[in-house]
Amino acid sequence: MSSSILPLTLDNVAYASNGQRIIAGVSLSIEAGPSTVILGANGAGKSVLMRLMHGLLRPTAGRVRWSEADPASLRRRQAMVFQRPVMLRRSALANVVYALQLAGVPSGEREAQARAALDEVGLRHLAQRPARVLSGGEQQRLALARAWALHPEVLFLDEPTANLDPSAAREIETVIKAFDAAGTKIVMATHNLGQARRLGDEVIYLQAGRVLERAPIEQFFARPATAEAAAFVKGELPWV
């Protein structure tokens, strides 16, 4: 694999939909290494910001730049796991194989790689089960296996445990740590402060479509620089 696709640079990025401004002029740089947690209340723009980074949305102003120019190569080297996983009507294994096929993996190697990814998330025994009848937690682990098989340089996670019970959420967090240990850059949106502490190295705090604060995780929780972030950390909604 050639040089890294990181850093990712956002240059005064704005996004509006139906005349409503959701992201208002965000400039930041995402470097390889520390796991980045995007914190903010519901409606702060976390999901939209991640979709702009991942290329699912086009900014209405500003630029999103990676250090890799070729769009196809860029697509293959990043993955995203959504709040609600979308599984195809086929087996768990076939869902992972499908992702490998799209990534251009030769057909003879797909199944072995897909099985290895299922092993990684503890779904080996459910490989032949139709993906859409799996439980929510199992589907989310399958989504992570699908991402794992691709060996992405960057993994975006949009509230990956928001719909899950605590034990399923812990299993997801274990897999996310494994990604981190394997050298994948984690960019995760969450409003779960405990999860942010367990998984994050640095925090980007978002409010009303703006980055109010960016700090190492310990510093953010111990000494938030802005009153809004301090209020959020205390569990209060800053604007009420």
């Binding site: 293959r76 979308v86 009507r89 499908y98 009848v133």
Partner: protein, 220 residues
């Protein structure tokens, strides 16, 4: 009421042959068309969808007339010599039900696309590949679209009457036979044919429904 003799069988089989061929052709053309309209964004898309929906209500006799003009000796396709053959009936029914299958498929696929779009784009599926994935994944909801087409094809009389001519032993199908027997006053035979027609449609629909339900239980 009537005897299930050789002639009757021939009529039933020809009806099935014509309608099922038309359904097959209209499905092959209509599903990609519906998928393209569901997934692609282009200028005039809304107009195309409205037109397609409106064409679902095409009057069979008008389709029959247009195909008649196309295939008649003096028409642009007259040289093919298809008029008053089962081939002409298949063409007319295909045109009649293509909008039904395409429009209903478009609706089902658009709903599926809303769910899948971000995930598929994230995985790098584009254009044709995304459309094929969508068609395959929505295959059980598409059964409904195909069945609606089959229902329309097997029930219509106007188009096959005009382009087929209701020729005994050549282009006589159940609906045209019913129309003829009714006008001749042979109501028992007409009624009998009617029951056969309803029974066939019922069996096909029940079978498709069972397949759909079993598949949904199995695949979620």
């Amino acid at each position: 009421m009537f005897q299930l003799d050789a002639e009757l069988w021939r009529i039933v089989l020809l009806s099935l042959e014509v309608s099922l061929s038309a359904v097959l052709l209209a499905t092959l053309l209509g599903l990609p068309l519906g998928a393209a309209l569901a997934v692609k964004r282009f200028p005039g898309r809304r107009g195309a969808i409205v037109t397609l929906n409106a064409l679902m209500g095409l009057p069979p006799v008008v389709v029959g007339l247009l195909v008649y003009l196309l295939l008649s000796r003096a028409g642009p396709l007259g040289e093919l010599g298809l008029l008053f053959t089962p081939g002409a009936m298949i063409i007319a029914q295909t045109i009649l039900i293509l909008p039904i299958i395409a429009a209903l498929a478009r609706q089902a696929l658009e709903d599926a696309w809303r769910e899948y779009e971000e995930q598929l784009r994230s995985l790098g599926a584009q254009g044709m590949q995304a459309a094929l994935t969508l068609l395959w994944d929505a295959r059980f909801s598409l059964i409904t679209a195909v069945l609606a087409g089959l229902g329309r094809a097997s029930a219509e009389v106007g188009a096959v009457m005009i382009v087929g001519g209701n020729i005994d032993g050549v282009t006589r199908v159940m609906t045209t036979a019913i129309a003829l027997e009714t006008s001749k006053g042979d109501l028992p035979l007409a009624l009998g044919l009617g029951f056969v027609l309803i029974a066939i449609v019922l069996v096909l629909n029940a079978g498709a429904q069972l397949v759909k339900e079993a598949a949904q239980r199995r695949f979620g």
